[in-house]
């Protein structure tokens, strides 16, 4: 039987991808961010997950507003790297797990989450940045992945509670998979950021740290927050934090925080938290 061995919440800021590709890991401004993932990589090396379910959003690279899914899940053997407008990044294609993905899609739909199933799906920084922060891909990605895309661009978005319940349904789906696989769930995006208007670049570290506390110890308290409240606290684009609730919903109520970190250099609060079942 498959089981969830833990969850990671991670920002997916695209400039991290640029810094990674330019080899800026040791530069004074970027080193705190990249070093923060060392304990996460050590934890991953210990638990050795077989599969990563990555909850992310596409940023207008693969999906267009002519038809826009609320939740879309990959069910393919491989996922190509998308061109987001500045060329295709030099990363290996992402390895999927077809049988597990198909099981996950069936299980979630029969659990009343009406998904868009994607047999072809290109992934971009929302998915890729947390992956290359957490995993060394030089010999190929060490885990198989399931991309799970959430609409956080075009309102109406799924509610915070709906995202949390989707995570709970993922937990049930994993337990029902017959093979003995270890699964990690990665919730991506956030934290506070605002990319339009006169408040461009404003960050809210106090709200971000409160969110981290609640995510660990009292996630139910976050599920009643409206999109309005979330955007007032975290900025319009900070609404991405609802994707962290998918990850948290997939874990049991009692968790142990393995590691957490927060860094806010430019325009986005870069949060990081690793949780495992207590």
């Amino acid at each position: 039987m498959a089981r969830i061995v833990g969850g990671i919440a991670s920002s997916h800021v695209p400039s991290i991808g640029g810094a990674h590709d330019r080899g800026k890991h040791e530069s004074p401004a970027w080193k705190p961010l990249f070093d923060a993932y060392v304990p996460v990589r050590e934890w991953l090396a210990r638990v050795k997950p077989d599969i990563a379910i990555v909850v992310y959003n596409d940023h207008a690279a693969e999906f267009f507003f002519d038809k826009y899914p609320t939740f879309a899940v990959g069910a393919a053997e491989h996922y190509a790297i998308a061109d987001e407008g500045f060329g295709v990044r030099p990363l290996p294609p992402v390895r999927g797990h077809l049988a597990f993905s198909q099981h996950l899609c069936e299980s979630l739909v029969y659990d009343e989450f009406d998904l868009t199933v994607c047999q072809e799906l290109k992934v971009e920084h929302g998915f890729l940045v947390p992956m290359h922060l957490c995993f060394d891909y030089r010999d190929g990605w060490p885990v198989a992945s399931v991309p799970l895309q959430v609409n956080v661009l075009q309102h109406p978005l799924p509610t915070a509670r709906r995202c949390y319940r989707l995570g709970q349904a993922i937990g049930r789906a994993v337990e029902a998979f017959a093979a003995d696989l270890k699964v990690v769930v990665i919730g991506t995006g956030g934290m506070s950021h605002q990319l339009t208007g006169s408040a461009f670049g404003d960050m809210q570290p106090d709200h971000d740290l409160d969110f981290l506390d609640r995510l660990e110890s009292d996630p139910e308290s976050l599920t009643g927050w409206s999109h309005q409240l979330l955007m007032e606290k975290f900025g319009v684009e900070g609404i991405e934090l609802i994707m962290w609730l998918v990850m948290r919903g997939a874990l049991p109520a009692a968790v142990r925080c393995v590691h957490r970190h927060y860094y806010a250099p430019m325009t986005t609060g870069m949060g990081l938290m690793t949780l495992e079942p207590a």
Binding site: W30, A60, F86, Q154, P156, L195, G201, E237, T267
Partner: protein, 120 residues
């Protein structure tokens, strides 16, 4: 059903919330920017901007905003922020330069206001 998720104004401060009305309004602009995801589209844009833009049935007002590189105006016209970023890449305007314009600051003033502007 959960209580209302958005305020009646559909705004956070002076920023628009990208809802279905905004997405409908911006569909032509966003379709134009979606093509910039592709190297062929970017090359066509750079080779002959007017001919490229003519493919997307933009209104006169939309064309004027594009030509003026009026980032706030484009957002008000329904361009999604993530499509604006692609337009910025194609026109040599990085996100932080566009953001400085939105704040009414120079790029240099904006950088000074950051906690660690080495992380550009």
């Amino acid at each position: 059903m959960q209580a209302s998720q958005l305020s009646a104004s559909r705004k956070i401060g002076d920023s628009h919330v990208f809802d279905l009305a905004m997405s409908h309004r911006g569909l032509r602009l966003n379709r134009m920017c979606h093509v910039l995801n592709d190297a062929t589209g970017r090359a066509a844009f750079r080779a002959d901007e007017a001919a490229f833009l003519a493919r997307f049935d933009l209104t006169e007002a939309e064309l004027a905003l594009v030509t003026a590189r009026d980032f706030n105006g484009l957002l008000a016209a329904g361009i999604n922020i993530y499509y604006l970023i692609k337009f910025g890449v194609a026109t040599g305007n990085g996100l932080y330069r566009m953001g400085a314009q939105m704040r009414g600051e120079t790029y240099e003033q904006f950088l000074v206001s950051r906690n660690n502007s080495g992380a550009v």
